[in-house]
């Protein structure tokens, strides 16, 4: 089975995870087409190919894609499935929303407007729907799956100075005993919206999630590497090969179950 993996910087942990999968079935053949997030969200997909359109207008992106992948666009016609790796699923915006609003019976936030659960869900849905890529199976003609970007680290303290999202997270960890539930709820709704768009979303591996806060256990945010295996400084957002291995195994189990009996590995 030929699988095209398209992704951003979060694809690195998945690649390293796949590299460590024991007994990766021979019929599974992975091809990687990745780039940094700032380029990734500018790429497009149709039933023939994925990558950069109008490359001549974006020479810098074209150059980076060619340097990393050998081409600015890749044909999808020879593949059986597509796996999107590391696409954002709106969780950062959800944390931003919760940092600025109270939600009745869900999230107390003094000195802010309070939304009803229904009002919050409306906002949540807009956020989640805005993060569904337009690359579903109805566009590609082949099954499309997604392993989204991991949730932020549960240990935000080292990163408080780097971005407001970590400060929001710190406050939410203190204030909200139901953050785990909120993020689980959001994950399920995101998967449902993506399914409507022809994309199967795999949940974040259960073993990687703090059962208290719903954020990523810090052990998975250590010793991270780029897709080329170079060590990178921890940033609270990216995860390591151990996470990637769990995600890869979940994915292989999923596609194995999704396959017709006679071709299962």
């Amino acid at each position: 089975m030929k699988i095209l993996v398209i992704g951003n910087s979060h694809a690195a942990s998945l690649k390293q995870g796949f590299d460590r999968v024991r007994n990766l079935p021979e019929q599974i053949e992975l091809t990687w087409f990745t780039c940094a997030g700032r380029e990734f969200y500018k790429l497009t997909c149709d039933k023939h190919s994925f990558g950069l359109q109008n490359a001549t207008r974006k020479p810098e992106i074209e150059r980076k894609l060619i340097k990393r992948n050998g081409a600015a666009r890749i044909s999808i016609e020879a593949f059986d499935r597509i796996l999107i790796a590391g696409h954002t699923n709106g969780f950062l915006e959800i944390i931003t929303l919760l940092a600025q609003f109270g939600v009745e019976a869900v999230h107390a936030k003094p000195s802010t407007p309070i939304l009803t659960k229904d009002g919050f869900t409306q906002c949540l849905d807009h956020i989640l729907q805005s993060r569904i890529p337009n690359w579903g199976s109805s566009v590609t003609g082949i099954p499309v799956d997604m392993i989204p970007a991991p949730r932020l680290t549960d240990d935000v303290e080292p990163f408080l100075g780097s971005a407001p999202k970590f400060r929001f997270c710190r406050d939410l960890r203190k204030e909200n005993e139901r953050l785990f539930e909120i993020l689980s709820f959001a994950e399920q709704r995101y998967a449902a919206f993506a399914s409507d768009a022809g994309i199967h979303v795999l949940p974040q591996p259960d073993k990687t999630i703090s059962k208290i806060t719903g954020l990523t256990l810090p052990i998975f945010n250590r010793q991270i590497e780029s897709i080329f295996g170079q060590a990178k400084a921890p940033d609270g957002a990216h995860v390591n090969w151990e996470y990637g291995l769990l995600a890869a195994e979940d994915y292989l189990n999923y596609i194995n179950a999704a396959l017709p009996q006679k071709v299962r590995h």
Binding site: G90, E93, T96, E104, A105, T116, K117, H126, I127, S130
Partner: protein
């Protein structure tokens, strides 16, 4: 021609030249500002649903429109403006929704400054709870009455902040008809039972404010504002949108004229009496015979976006800002002759139109 007091009057003093012969793009001639405005002035807006157009237009043109209870923008661009508005945000200078009457405005100011505690602040519907003063802000309703109280407390803090910041307070008078709590006299933006609450004759009563009511309400409000903020100026308008329904017992068209006439007369009195009150004739610009009804959509009630554009561009032009505002759903070229028909209400958040559902089909 014999000398007469009329012989030296400008063309706009005469109906034939001022109205019949007026170019359709020259509607701005109806308005001569009493005082100048600057983009840096802090505008606080409130009023009936038509007032939303004023706030939006000023914002779009880069005026400093105060919003003390905003929908946070940072990191939340995915949430569209329609949803933000449906939740009561991005409409006015705080999340108070439409303020249809002078009484409601005065009441809000008193409550925000601790001079009034509402007798009936919470309405119930199907075991959910609503703010009786703004039941439309989050239409699902809250699970707990306490949440409504807490939310209102935060809201009143924002109202107090907003009102204290006003260099120019813009108010659009919308209605004289209102519903009141019999015992306390408190009024509501919408009748109990329409969105939430339950109507009963023993608790609630219909009230149709008269000229002296509206005038005294606004005079008291003005006094209160000026006691805290002596430099504040007022820009008042009358909504050209007719009543959706009337409880007065009169024909709705007669009731509309009564209501608008009173509101217009109060504006005239305020304009004539106070240097710091200006009147912007959006009402006349929209309802002018010159338009032959063309400013209204096919329901004869909704103001066409093209007409709103023309009115708001006239306001800005009169103040020296050559604007070509585009109102959502409107057409950018001026003139009211375009056939921009609308059977439904426009994109304003407007509780009053809910009354239409009570009419027979």
């Amino acid at each position: 021609m014999a000398n007469s007091p009329y012989s030296k009057l400008p063309p706009q003093a005469f109906w034939r030249q001022g109205v019949v012969q007026r170019h359709e793009n020259a509607i701005h001639e109806l308005y001569t500002p009493k005082f100048p405005i600057r983009k840096s002035d802090r505008f606080v807006t409130a009023g009936s649903c038509f007032a939303q157009h004023i706030g939006r237009s000023l914002k779009e043109e880069g005026f400093n429109v105060v919003d003390e209870e905003p929908f946070p923008q940072r990191g939340l661009k995915a949430i569209p403006v329609e949803t933000r508005r449906a939740l009561g945000f991005d409409l006015y200078s705080a999340r108070y929704g439409n303020i249809y009457t002078s009484r409601q405005l005065l009441q809000l100011d008193k409550e925000a400054h601790g001079d009034l505690e509402l007798t009936d602040p919470i309405w119930e519907k199907d075991a959910t709870y609503f703010d009786s003063q703004r039941p439309n802000i989050d239409i699902a309703g809250f699970e707990l009455a306490e949440t409504v109280r807490e939310n209102r407390k935060h809201h009143l803090d924002c109202v107090r902040q907003a009102f204290s910041k006003a260099d120019i307070f813009v108010f659009t008078f919308g209605l004289t008809e209102t519903w009141a709590h019999r015992a306390s006299g408190e009024v509501y933006p919408v009748a109990p039972g329409v969105i939430a609450g339950t109507h009963d004759d023993e608790t609630y009563t219909f009230k149709n404010l008269g000229y002296s009511d509206v005038l005294s309400d606004f005079l008291e409000f003005r006094e209160r504002m000026m006691s805290r903020n002596p430099e504040v100026r007022f820009l008042v308008t009358v909504s050209p949108v007719p009543l959706t329904a009337t409880m007065s017992g009169q024909h709705v068209e007669i009731a509309t004229v009564r209501s608008k006439s009173i509101l217009r007369a109060v504006c005239a009195e305020l304009y004539d009496s106070f240097e710091n009150v200006d009147y912007f004739p959006s009402y006349e610009m929209t309802t002018s015979q010159k338009n032959q009804g063309g400013a209204f959509a096919s329901n004869l009630r909704t103001v066409k976006p093209s007409a709103v554009e023309l009115v708001m561009n006239s306001f800005l032009k009169a103040h020296g800002y050559n604007s070509e505002l585009t109102i959502e759903g409107g057409v950018s070229s001026p003139g009211l002759a375009e056939d921009h028909d609308m059977d439904s209400e426009d994109d304003l958040v407007c509780e009053e139109m809910l009354l239409d559902g009570f009419g027979s089909q």
